[in-house]
């Protein structure tokens, strides 16, 4: 049987309606059924990482341990983005938003990554104190390793290196973050 509407494709959708005791039957192909019958057969999944994340955020407000329940309309002064905007899009507005919404972001980051502390690369030029502190952490780990192996000469060398860097650190200006 061909579609009642376009008469081109086979009718695969059969609609029977009873209006005022009158039974009306229509036989349509899936394309015409979408157009005229209000029935949808093609499904386009719409979830992206951003929309899934937005769903996660909607659960978060007011529940996360220590999450400060601030007005969701609070805005980032730098870009004008609000936490509501973030909940809808799953994206921040600018880098300043991380500081503005830190209280809300903290539990979310822990949920996504299992951690909320960066331990990786630090920018060479603008890393400032972070770069130095990272270097000290690395040396301290080495120090423990040498002490464990009872290589005290090497351990002493590293201890001196740490002292030197710590002096250097005090000369650096404190960065904003």
């Amino acid at each position: 049987m061909l579609c009642d509407e376009c008469k081109k494709y086979y009718a695969t959708v059969h609609i029977a309606r009873t209006v005022n005791n009158q039974k009306v039957e229509r036989h349509l192909c899936s394309i015409c059924a979408e157009k005229f019958g209000g029935m949808y057969f093609t499904f386009e999944p719409t979830f992206t990482i951003n929309s899934l994340l937005a769903g996660l955020l909607n659960q978060e407000v007011g529940y996360g341990p220590g999450a400060k329940v601030v007005s969701t309309r609070e805005r980032c002064e730098n870009c004008g983005f609000s936490y509501d905007d973030f909940r809808q899009t799953g994206r921040l507005g600018c880098s300043e938003c991380y500081a503005v919404f830190a209280a809300q972001l903290e539990p979310i980051l822990r949920r996504i990554h299992g951690s909320s502390n960066h331990t990786g690369k630090v920018p060479l030029r603008t890393g400032g104190k972070a770069k130095i502190r990272r270097e000290i952490d690395r040396l301290r780990a080495d120090l423990q390793k040498y002490i464990g192996r009872e290589e005290f000469e090497k351990a002493a060398e590293i201890r001196d290196a740490i002292k030197e860097i710590e002096l250097e650190e005090n000369d650096q200006p404190e960065d904003e973050s």
Binding site: I49, N50, L53, N78, C79, F81, T89, G90, R91, L92, G93, C94, S95, E96, Y98, A99, L105, I108, L109, I112, H113, G114, S115, S116, N117, H118, T119, G120, K121, V122, P123, L124, R125, T126, G127, K129, A130, R133, D175, S177
Partner: protein, 356 residues
């Protein structure tokens, strides 16, 4: 250099089949997400400020070019690129389909070998990417990281000691690093173990997808494995984890290949020779059939059932038989039916010239 020159070059370094384990690992990719401090993120930019972002990245790229340690980098405006040109860059894995979606004023930086690219104003201001042939994640990261350092000499990155590199989406924050490998696993698929193995990989915090990224089916038995977590571990740990899981996947695939050849050699030979026969003689070939048959002859060539076919030829075929590339090659838009004929012809030519 024009974008067209890039398309004329059908082989980029990631396709040349020279890296370690290139028989199973087609390519390794590392990308770093970076943003400029204080500047609204791409989805918030006006055209004017988006252009400013492109200009400041251009200055940084010029500076890197002057120092000369990263080869020659070229910046292209993406706005003037046609839909076809964009699709070819996506098929060559040099750009992502999302470039142009968050912000229409965007651009792409490429080096001549096609091993380095920087997407400008995709989801983040910069997405620095390096592609290498075979299993070379550490090398890809080193190259990315050097380019990153070069750009940082001029650009003030959005960085916080606690959260690391700040990104548009919190799923990328921290290192901003996404490493991925493209692996060809025909024996695991044929022996029915691919699903379970990839499921296990998923439980380790790694994601598995098809050849063309998010949402794509694993056509031609090619899978993409990538890290998901970007915060809390350093770059080396992330790269090591992905490399070591990939090495185990390689071992499993090798074991499955041996078992298949031992237990069902005749049916394997039959499958592979049939694939070779069809590819060398067919007149009409759709994209998914081509992907499947190319996987079969790749398997045949690597296991010695077929005479050796160069890995680079097989990699090249994966890209040049894509719909957009076929249209670029013929210089006109093609109906699907016509496309299938051109595809069959190109495959016949490539396989013929390679083995004559």
């Amino acid at each position: 250099m024009k974008l067209d020159d890039f398309f004329a070059n059908t082989i980029h370094s990631w396709m040349d089949g020279t890296g370690p384990h290139a028989d199973i690992v087609i390519s390794s990719r590392v990308r770093l997400a970076r943003n400029i401090a204080g500047v609204p993120l791409p989805h918030m930019l006006t055209n004017q400020s988006a252009n400013k972002v492109i200009e400041s990245i251009e200055r940084a790229v010029d500076d890197v070019n002057k120092r000369g340690n990263m080869g020659k980098l070229h910046l292209f405006s993406y706005e003037n690129a046609s839909g076809l040109e964009r699709q070819i860059l996506v098929d060559k894995h040099l750009a992502s389909p999302a470039l142009g979606q968050s912000c229409s004023t965007c651009g792409i930086v490429l080096n001549e070998e096609g091993s380095l690219s920087i997407m400008i104003n995709e989801e983040d201001h910069l997405r620095i990417q390096c592609l290498q042939s075979g299993l070379q994640l550490a090398e890809a990261f080193q190259l990315c990281s050097s380019l990153d350092d070069g750009l940082e000499a001029i650009i003030d990155y959005a960085f916080q000691e606690k959260y690391g590199y700040l990104t548009a989406c919190p799923t990328n924050v921290g290192t901003g690093l996404r490493g991925s490998v493209m692996v060809h696993l025909p024996a695991l698929v044929m022996s029915g173990h691919a699903g379970r193995m990839l499921n296990t990989v998923g439980q380790l915090g790694l994601a598995v997808r098809g050849f063309y990224g998010e949402g794509s089916e694993a056509a031609g038995n090619i899978f993409q494995i990538s890290n998901q977590i970007t915060l809390g571990h350093d770059e080396e740990q992330m790269i090591n984890k992905l490399s070591s899981v990939t090495s185990q996947v390689i071992e499993q695939e090798e074991a499955a290949r041996k078992a298949l050849l031992k237990n069902s050699r005749v049916s394997m030979e039959d499958k592979i020779f049939r694939a070779y026969g069809i590819l060398s003689h067919a007149r009409v070939m759709n994209a998914s059939e081509a992907m499947q048959l190319l996987s079969d002859i790749r398997f045949g060539s690597e296991t010695g059932i077929l005479p050796k076919i160069e890995t680079r030829t097989l990699n090249e075929l994966l890209v040049i038989t894509r719909p957009a590339y076929l249209q670029w090659t013929t210089g006109r838009s093609l109906e699907p039916a016509e496309r299938d004929c051109v595809r069959a012809e190109i495959i016949r030519e490539k396989l013929g010239s390679d083995n004559s």
